[in-house]
């Protein structure tokens, strides 16, 4: 199948899983330049497994994953990250015991010192809340601040694609709003986003397109606003909030 010219990330019939357990049974989707794509599905449908497979944390058993048209299937996690895919996994994975500034610098690991310093300056200007706490232990930040730090760290490498797994989970409403504003702003900076969000309504409102994953395969896809308005989808995933 020929993909649109501006396709950044292609997941083509990917099969993967844990040990003998197969979770993804031929998932296929794509993410285009500068768009936010939501991935929705019930618990255990394979959302997190897909994120882990894209970044190499889970091995691709068959199928192919391409970034900018080049296959990254079988590459190491580190190589995939360096090629331009950053994952913010579920939970707030800050390096507690290290300064906020050091956490951010780790996001640019492997870049030259001048590039690292420039990215750090740019990121701290973009996230004033982190600038105020740059010398503070990352473990002492609030949950929301930690989540912002993890997102900011993932952006330090200027990735082509940012994978966000449940970024609002467990955050206060005010902090959810802040995190969503940051995600929306990525569209302007040309970063493509694949978003898994437990708040399906908020995720679809933020996204340009969306995929519905069921039992390890893509069941539906479309414009996010169309899916949001779809009554059959409302019954499955959106609950009373959308009805």
């Amino acid at each position: 199948m020929t993909e649109p010219a501006d396709t950044i990330l292609e997941i083509d019939s990917v099969v993967s899983g844990y040990g003998e357990l197969e979770i993804l049974h031929g998932a296929t989707l794509d993410v285009r330049a500068g768009e936010i794509v939501a991935l929705i599905g019930s618990n255990g449908a394979g959302k997190t497994s897909l994120m882990k497979t894209i970044t190499g944390l889970l091995k691709v058993r068959s199928g192919d994953i391409r970034l900018h048209g080049q296959s990254i299937t079988g590459a190491s996690v580190e190589a995939i990250v360096r090629k331009g895919i950053s994952l913010v996994p579920e939970g707030r994975h800050v390096f507690a015991g290290m300064k906020v500034e050091d956490n951010l610098l780790l996001g640019a690991y492997g870049l030259s010192k001048s590039e690292r310093d420039a990215k750090l300056k740019e990121t701290l200007e973009r996230f004033p809340l982190l600038q105020e706490r740059a010398k503070q232990d990352a473990g002492s930040l609030s949950g929301g601040q930690q989540q912002l730090l993890v997102v900011a760290r993932a952006l330090m490498r200027s990735p082509s694609v940012l994978l966000l797994d449940e970024p609002s989970l467990g955050l206060s409403p005010l902090m959810v709003e802040t995190v969503f504003e940051v995600i929306a702003s990525l569209r302007q900076s040309g970063v493509s986003v694949l978003l898994v969000e437990q708040n399906v309504v908020a995720g679809l409102e933020l996204a340009d397109r969306a995929y519905v994953i069921e039992n390890g395969a893509i069941a539906r896809s479309g414009i996010a606003s169309d899916l949001l308005a779809d009554p059959t989808l409302s019954n499955s995933f959106l609950g009373s909030a959308a009805q």
């Binding site: 944390l57 580190e78 990250v81 994975h93 390096f95 050091d102 690991y109 760290r153 490498r157």
Partner: protein, 296 residues
């Protein structure tokens, strides 16, 4: 007990403790990054001691013998990870990895016995002096000053590398959250290799500084290795400052125990370790649970 005698005990204890601190720091570095308790750490110290004796015996000046010893033991530490533990780490259980390190310690002892013989080997003090320095009625040998100074420099360099460099940040992040470290583009296996090399270099510093003080044999490393673990445990296993505090504390305990019986010095000090841990189960500075790079 007069003040001079007490100070003498402290100087002796701190000198011995500095060596334990260097060994303990190596244990902690490797454990934090890889989750492996490397029982061959003491043998790395022994190799460091044997190498400096050999180099000096061959007429090398200190300025060449010291860096050559540190570099070779660094490489030996890397080789242990690259050829023995690295390949086993993904499939091995904690017990099997521990047994591999025990096996390696025996192999290294055996090879050292073949290569350097069974008799104790000696080398002169780095700066031989007719008599020890006397400060406040306390006599301090020149080699004691070398030991304390050398270990301070080694631990200082380790601190600066860990706190101020990209490699140091990578080492620390790999010990905190190896999966997230990989997702930051860090090659955790390479970092594990460097941790083993750095632990080897620290052990080498301990060995080369200790060599003029004792008769070095192929078996010297095993007892010092046990004491290095004890020091790390006293300080709080997994804590880097704890390794230093634990090393000095163990050295001081031994120094005090020598008042009771020099023959029972080790037994008494290790008994004291047990007592410390009964009161403070996590050690003086508190240990930490460690996520390891195994299987990520």
């Amino acid at each position: 007990m007069d003040l001079a005698f007490l100070l003498q005990l402290i100087v002796t204890g701190v000198t011995t403790g500095a060596i334990y601190a260097a060994v303990a720091m190596g244990f902690v570095l490797v454990f934090r990054v890889t989750g492996i308790l490397n029982f061959a750490q003491g043998e790395l110290l022994m190799v460091g001691g044997m190498l400096i004796i050999s180099f000096r015996g061959a007429g090398w000046p200190l300025i060449a013998a010291v860096p050559a010893t540190i570099a070779l033991v660094f490489l030996l530490g890397c080789a242990i990870y690259a050829f023995a533990l690295g390949p086993a780490i993904k499939r091995g259980t904690n017990i099997s990895l521990l047994l591999i390190t025990l096996g390696l310690s025996q192999i290294m002892q055996g090879l050292a016995q073949i290569g350097w013989g069974s008799d104790p080997r000696y080398t002169p003090d780095f700066t031989p002096a007719d008599r020890p320095l006397t400060l406040f009625n306390v006599s301090v040998t020149s080699q004691s000053i070398w030991i304390m100074g050398g270990v301070i420099v080694a631990l200082g360099v380790t601190y600066v590398v860990l706190e101020r460099t990209g490699i140091g940040r990578a080492l620390r992040s790999s010990s905190i959250d190896p999966m997230m470290a990989r997702l930051s583009g860090i090659n955790v296996r390479l970092i594990s290799l460097i941790a083993f090399g750095a632990a080897g270099a620290l052990a080498a510093v301990g060995g080369l500084l200790l060599a003029p003080v004792i008769g070095m044999t192929y078996a010297t490393g095993s007892l010092i290795g046990v004491k290095g673990i004890a020091a790390a445990v006293i300080g709080g296993f997994g804590s880097i400052p704890g390794a230093i505090v634990g090393g000095i504390a163990l050295g001081l305990l031994e120094s005090i125990a020598s008042l009771i019986s020099t023959g029972l010095q080790t037994g008494i000090s290790l008994l004291a370790v047990v007592l410390v841990l009964l009161i403070l189960p996590d050690g003086i500075l508190g240990g930490r649970r460690v996520k390891t790079a195994v299987g990520v």
